[in-house]
Symmetry: D2
Subunit: 163 residues, 4 copies
Amino acid sequence: MVMSHSPSQLPPSQALVKDDALHAKTERWFEYPVKVQPHHTDYAGIVWHGAYLAWLEAARVECLHSIGIDFADLVQAGCDLPVVELALRYHRPLQLGQSAIVKTQMREMTGVRIDWDYEIQALDSPEIYLSGRVTLVAVDRASGKVVRRLPPAVKDALIKLTR
Amino acid sequence: MVMSHSPSQLPPSQALVKDDALHAKTERWFEYPVKVQPHHTDYAGIVWHGAYLAWLEAARVECLHSIGIDFADLVQAGCDLPVVELALRYHRPLQLGQSAIVKTQMREMTGVRIDWDYEIQALDSPEIYLSGRVTLVAVDRASGKVVRRLPPAVKDALIKLTR
Amino acid sequence: MVMSHSPSQLPPSQALVKDDALHAKTERWFEYPVKVQPHHTDYAGIVWHGAYLAWLEAARVECLHSIGIDFADLVQAGCDLPVVELALRYHRPLQLGQSAIVKTQMREMTGVRIDWDYEIQALDSPEIYLSGRVTLVAVDRASGKVVRRLPPAVKDALIKLTR
Amino acid sequence: MVMSHSPSQLPPSQALVKDDALHAKTERWFEYPVKVQPHHTDYAGIVWHGAYLAWLEAARVECLHSIGIDFADLVQAGCDLPVVELALRYHRPLQLGQSAIVKTQMREMTGVRIDWDYEIQALDSPEIYLSGRVTLVAVDRASGKVVRRLPPAVKDALIKLTR
């Protein structure tokens, strides 16, 4: 039941089906609050750079949940949304005990590729700790292959996200 | 003792001191073998996308070790090398039980910024699972600020890496 | 600044200073809600057994916060509370997307040893997923040694917890 | 395909089928070397208490591999070995950059329950950092239920481990 798609099955970064492109962007950020616990920190007393990825993922899952897409149901139904690209910039460190807001919005849906923008911001100031983008692609779990089209329920919910 | 540099202390991506730039690239990859254990996997039976960052870090630390830089000693001496940028592309998934080689090389050292290139490759074929780049910057632990120059021992060892 | 206490500095499990013992137990559980995100799961689609430890820690830190002890402040002030013993029983698995309540209460404070009891319970039924106990000991960060007495503010707050 | 066994399906700690008990213990420890990387550490500069569980798991998987049991194959064949109990004692901390040996041996196989003993020891001295026990139980992945008997290949390999 393990996916095993070959590299040719991953869509190239540039050559995307333009007909199916939805150059939509949500107006509002979805906000997901976090707090730095001991297990997030490293020897420097700040959040280990890899620990942010769990927060980005949780914010994305909860953003989908807020528009009616239950990620566990999607997986159960045979569709997965693995991360295929990731670009992050660490602006300043978050320290043990600090709270922050993970802000995310869907930036673009191009065929079965979905780009999410991120900013991690202080609670009470415009200070940014991290900014970045994460790209997902829809995959059929049974075959392990990238799907031709997003499941309609997912596409419709994501389109709603852009209004 | 926790670092707390302000964003202005992070060097901008483009405007780097060209005089101090070392456009050097190592010829050879440093190779760090890994094997997918249960704790690396997620519900899809493949390595969770965030788990790769621990491998990239370990490969980098061991590459430094191979040229005489002990990372723990460096930290003890008051210098840290936090990740300030990260860009990864996930080409195909690694599954439970699979082995692979994390390949890394220093691509460029520009002042106190150090870029590392990465490829995670199959043991016995040219298949690539992940490629990417990680950028570090040297920081003084006491002040939390980016240092003006790399510690000479680090710079000399890294220059050796390019030959 | 790294702690490095020798094994003789860890208090033996049995031989505890009885005079200073506080056989107190909180009447009420502190409740910390959690939800299973993809990064918590392993190849079996359930929470990886090690991932629970982050939840237990966060519940403990937030329980302390609820009685006025800020863990980051405590660390800043030179006191740490490392885990010295851990005993867990995994009753049934939590699956991707499930929510649950991490319940914790201080069970006993004996000198500078503090035992915490845990249960992870379903949201809407008495089903238990995990039960266990975690033992902390107070350590002076500068010397790395177990302290003779808990900081008064910590002790007083914990005593309040038992009423 | 996710396991979902009810608590009654987990064997009680005491009431084990005595007829099927194999009170065997391996004479020799299996040794798995580890080194503390930045991602293992927390704000105290030492290994975070939860990070050890990944090492214990990897040592167990590689010990099984050394006697001919490929864990990924076992999972593929429909058998899982989840952790059902865990008891650890943290004797002294491991610091950034330190190396150590994770030692493990199967202590007892009682029906489908398998106990593993652990010690994490210094490379060049008898100092112990952690000791503990981890209990696994064999589960059928399709039904999510505890199996009546270990797969013969697994049982035979484990019996060999005791000689």
